[in-house]
């Protein structure tokens, strides 16, 4: 009890001198960004661009040298000569807003107890006031998938925009997918590994159990006597067949939810594809280190992949030393929709550099950018409104002094979410200022 109080007090004292920036109000002014190099996120580049937006939507994405521009239509014109405009970056598979400090249990809300929790929803725990989020945002990440973890089925993820007063405000697409940690399918030898035969038996049993679980969930979804989630709550029609877990999986069978399977090893990927194929699920592989071994399968079944960090080590001693660096390019060349991700929360601020590395290993810069913009939007099913700079889509974009993929030159100076100009300040910038002032080194 004393401990808890102590932590709460500490948290309070921090918040007193380092507030997260206030969320921005809705776009009221019509804005035009002129002369920047626009990287549209769909692979196209406009050297001297004119980007106009009002009421949160892009109204103009064009080449300033080719179109006739009526600047009087805009309340505010930003001259971004020499700068670069990008769609807001999209971070998949994060715990943003769910974990504040990894090792402080009271600040960790991403991992529920139990093995099958399809009904738990990440959006409920999303902390829109996290001190972490603004540090990620100031590097250009404006949308994120917030993902639960733990157990076999961890729960449901949602997509949020990273500037809001509360989770309802932040929600961009709620409960869009269910996350399944595929049981390990290789025999492993390490510190506390079980005997080989025990492991081999478990592999088969786990698969059978998982299969049965989905069979039962399907039977439930087909049972007319159950009440669909829209009508849950105080409802006189509720019967003893009602099952919140299976109910939450209904969307997988009618195609409104995506099944995200977290796995790395090739056999797990193949098995996940087979399961999704059997039930007709929309499948996304998360992690997918071995995806390069089964590109044909993934392509033919239209399975997308959320790769882990490009900045990681090859899993096997003999692997090509640059394997993680070139995985994006291998998947891109095979025609697979993929994105890269960074795992965790604060690490998301390095998302664009993880993409940048793929541009050094086989991709063009625009392809690398596409992976964390339009591709990510497609995977999350939000590409109708986000992911690229196209007229009619949300005005969710950033302006950088340099190349957003390269830490050598990147410096994000403006960011807009649905036309709202975001305050790019964060606790770290505030502390920097404080101490630069203290030492007189500004």
């Amino acid at each position: 009890m004393k401990k808890t109080l102590y932590i709460i007090l500490l948290a309070f004292s921090i918040s007193a001198n380092a507030q997260r920036p206030d969320p921005a109000p809705a776009q009221s002014q019509r804005i035009l960004i002129m002369n920047a190099t626009a990287h549209l996120g769909n692979g196209k580049v406009i050297e001297n661009s004119a980007i106009g937006f009002e009421k949160g939507k892009l109204t103009l994405v064009g080449d300033a040298t080719l179109i006739r521009l009526d600047k009087s239509k805009y309340d505010k014109v930003i001259d971004a000569q020499g700068k670069h405009v990008y769609p807001g970056l999209i971070a998949c598979n994060t715990t943003l807003g769910l974990t504040e400090i990894d090792m402080v249990r009271s600040t960790v809300d991403n991992n529920e107890v139990g093995t099958m929790n399809p009904n738990v929803r990440s959006i409920i725990a999303y902390n829109s006031d996290s001190r972490v989020t603004p540090t990620v945002r100031s590097n250009g990440i404006l949308l994120a998938q917030v993902v639960p973890s733990g157990g076999i089925i961890s729960g449901q993820s949602s997509v949020v925009q990273l500037d809001g007063w509360n989770w309802e405000d932040a929600a961009y697409k709620t409960d869009e997918g269910i996350h399944l940690n595929w049981p390990r399918m290789y025999v492993y030898k390490g510190g506390n590994s079980e005997p080989e035969d025990v492991q081999r038996n478990k592999i088969q049993k786990n698969l059978n159990d998982l299969q049965l679980y989905f069979d039962e969930a399907k039977a439930f979804a087909q049972n007319a006597s159950t009440v669909s989630s829209a009508n849950l709550g105080a409802n006189s029609k509720l019967t003893e067949d009602q099952n919140l877990k299976f109910e939450s999986m209904r969307g997988l069978f009618n195609g409104t939810k995506t099944l995200y399977v977290h796995c790395s090893y090739v056999k797990e990927i193949i098995s996940a594809v087979a399961l999704a194929d059997k039930f007709g699920f929309r499948l996304v592989i998360v992690g997918g280190t071995d995806a390069y071994r089964v590109t044909d399968l993934l392509k033919s079944k239209n399975v997308a992949v959320i790769l882990g960090r490009t900045h990681s080590l090859p899993p096997r001693e003999d692997d090509d030393i640059d394997l993680p660096y070139k995985l994006p390019s291998i998947l891109a060349k095979a025609g697979i929709t993929y994105t890269v991700s960074t795992d965790g929360s604060w690490q998301a601020r390095n998302l664009s550099f993880n993409a940048g590395t793929s541009a050094a290993y086989g991709l063009s810069k625009e392809e690398a950018l596409m992976s964390i913009t339009l591709n990510a939007a497609k995977i999350l099913g939000i590409n109708a409104t986000a992911g690229s700079l196209e007229e009619g889509k949300d005005a969710t974009l950033i302006v950088s002094d340099g190349d957003v993929l390269d830490m050598r030159t990147n410096h994000v100076v403006n960011a807009f979410i649905s036309g709202r100009e975001i305050n790019l300040d964060n606790i770290q910038k505030q502390l920097n200022q404080t101490y630069e002032t203290k030492y007189g080194i500004k």
Binding site: I7, L10, I14, E100, I101, D102, M103, V104, R131, V132, T135, Y186, V187, Y188, K189, G190, E196, Y265, V266, K267, R293, H311, S312, L313, P314, P315, R316, E317, D318, D320, I321, D322, S345, W346, R349, N350, F353, G356, T357, A359, A360, L405, D406, M407, R408, T409, N410, H411, I427, Q428, K429, L431, N432, Y435, E436, Y439, I441
Partner: protein, 1002 residues
Amino acid sequence: MKRIFTLTLFVMFALQNFAQETFPVNGTADPRHTIYAFKNAVIHTDYKTSVQSATLLIQDGKILSSGAGITIPANAVVFDLKGKHIYPSLIDIFSDYGMADVKKPENDPNPQFISKTKGAYNWNQAVKAEYDAYRNFTADGKKAEELRKMGFGTVMSLSRDGIVRGSSTVVMLGDERENEMIIRDRAASNFSFNKGSSSQDYPSSLMGSIALLRQTYYDADWYTKGGYKEEYNISLDAFNKNKNLPQIFEAGDKQNVLRAVKIGSEFGVNYIIKSDGDEFERIEEIKNAGAALIVPLTFPDGYDFSDPYEAVNVSLHQMKYWELAPTNPGVLASKNISFALTAADLKNKTDFWKNLRKAIENGLTEEDALKALTFTPAALLKLDDKIGALKNNMLANFIITSTNISNKDNQIFENWVNGKRYQIADPILGDVRGNYSLTIDNLKPMRIKIGGEINSPEAFLFEDTTGAKISFLRQGSILTFQMELKKSEPKGNYRLTGDASTQNWNGNVLLPTAEWGKWSMKLDSAFIPPVPKADSIKKESPKGVVYFPNMAYGWKELPKAKTYLITNATVWTNEKDGILKNTDVLIENGKIKQIGKNLVAPAGCEVTDGTNLHVTPGIIDEHSHIAVSHSVNEGTQSSSAEVRIGDVVDADDVQIYRQLAGGVTTSHLLHGSANAIGGQTQLIKLRWGQPAEKLKFEGAPGFIKFALGENVKQSNWGDNQVTRFPQTRMGVEQVYWDYFTRASIYNAKRSLVTVSADQQSIPVRRDLDLDALVEIMKGKRFITCHSYVQSEINMLMHVADSFGFKVNTFTHILEGYKVADKMKAHGVSGASTFSDWWAYKFEVYEAIPYNGPIMHKVGLNVSYNSDDAEMARRLNQEAAKAVMYGGVSEEEAFKFVTLNPAKMLHVDDRTGSLKVGKDGDVVVWNDNPLSIYAKPLQTYVDGIKYFDIKQDEILRKEITAEKARLMQKMADAKNKGESTQKPVFKALELKHCNDSELFMPH
């Protein structure tokens, strides 16, 4: 008179020879002093001598004589061994025969700081010098029989438990009383790196085991020189008493063998070292180490690659090891390394002969094999006057075999132990394989074929052309067959039994009708081993060569220094010249020879056109945990200053190569952060392929790791770890005060005794832990301290000021920006931090990516480190974050990962910048090294090109080809019936400073 004297002498001699017993006789005494004579045998009197048609005479368990032309006394029992061989029986000096099983330590989640052994024993439960195997030896009939069947007559039994294991004993493998079987009570003193059944926390790491052993040597020395007056210590007393015995060290793999040798050289001990059998992978170093070895015959099974997706989990190292492990004994012999072979570690003891013959097929001569199983083990224990050969007065321990022991078909018929016969196979039957015709009563003769292995023959019945396996047993000369006849009447089961002692076998048969009949069997043709068709004999394909290290990306031949010229490049000097355009760099004899424009390429120089390329000094990682064997933490006590990462450098870590490919040339390998005073660190250069000792940065000053904050106070170690002092930052300060106070007193006492040593005084015990602290206070050892929050940073500087030394480096130091001015005032040599890590635990909640830039602007020497094998591959990009967040100039930012760490490590006279005369630690990049798009094309260490991106492409193809070759070879071996194992994924061990048995973050 003379006669009386002779007679007396004779009687005395005879009496001496006769065994005497202390045990009472129940019944009538039955003394046996029979002389046994074995004649007409090929007698191998020792490993290199064999005598044809020789005779062996034994009596009372001893050899009377052996050789040719020996007269057999009339009163001898004579065995005619025509055509058979007699060998000295085999000796295994690394056996657990007759020893109790080693218990697994109880799994107690609570910490245990001192030994649970009750009594006046050592503080550490793994030091059991007082253990004597002979006091605990109990003969084990079943195991003795198993060993005798393999041909062994004598073993050295030891308790494989603990780091100091006490004495072992040499026993014979007969079934007589223990009193008769022990031939050397205290045969050797035994050691290992493994604490075995000890439940005590310390040591938890390999380097901890090494430190404990070294400390025990010093303690024992102190004890004998007067320490015994201060305390009684059974373990140390026994340790000293065991000192004049042969010293045997169970080390393990090749690197551990070298580690054991190093310990031995510190204390003037030549260990006999039990290895794992992988010495061939570093044979030159093993040879130079000069130790005699005890080598197991454990050869791994090939992998079953029928599932290709499991196959991908088998590494090239595992495959190459499979191919080359059987060459190990032969390689050792060819290098004239003295070694004994042991059956220890064989999962299946019956593999002993199979594997010995495999070793012989792979280059071990029969003579060397025999030597390693007779003479050498006997000589190593100074028992070669008793066992290991068949010479007068030696023990009558020998085996009788059908032919040469290296012959695949050799059978051991008898094993004589202490002059007592143990029959193993029936020599009357010998090889029964062949084609026979069988007649039962009046039935038409049928053909029987006996084939299979000589020691496990199988019988087949041919009623027509197809054969059916039938049951076939023999007991002595009694034979039984059981067969079902389908073609002859009456049909049904026939049960034959008969006598095999005559040329033609015959006997009675129980017919299907339950009546009895007669049968006989005649040998038509003897067994002829099947000769494979000429085209089907695949000569074993040539073996692959050993790589350095013997794994993917290893070298076939280690690279050497050449002269290199890189022309017309952008050169980042890190010197006052700054960044030079269109400049050439010449590297010669391992050093930077010249930097300038239009340099002339010396003859034989390798030239790289550096147009559009960047040349920089090699990257230096101030905080790394790669290339360390086993744990990086000895975190069981608040100080582990006595442990040394330098003892456990792992030259076979693929991360060395991967980091070279990221432009790293120097890494500072740190102890973890589990305790306030961690272990001594090791600076290495990434000389990929070289053995551990040659990776070490020569002449670099010593460092020690300190740590503060959450890890040290065990904040995130779970609910069981709440009793080790300290649990708060207040306690951490007192740990330092306590240790440095004690170290000061210790230092004063030691200096005093050195000056005025008199016979009466008790010497001050050398304490390796305090030694390291004294070095710190004397400025001979520098600190790099894991630190996060401002309060603790401040604290350590105060402690240092109080004891008159400087904190050299603060590592991690994520709140350094809050006390940068104080650090500058204290005079720290460096602040080594992360670029942008935070929020992973509470103490880094105010970590900011502006930390490095602020400290830099305040005037501190700042570096960025990795603490992570992955990040180390792109430290250049981390440096770029100082540009992005803090507006540091590119030139200064790049120094964060090159010159600045060199300065804080005090090796900037050698590396860290491109300056004529400095080491050739150079990287060639395709782009500005701060860019995400930059890749190292070449990395030089000491002017040797250890990484080349073009060579890497070739290596990848070679790895694939070598794996393909070995997969085919394994498939062939599997088809030939060799046993296989299924692939298992062995995850690469990645270490962080948090790694220990308990989870803990950075």
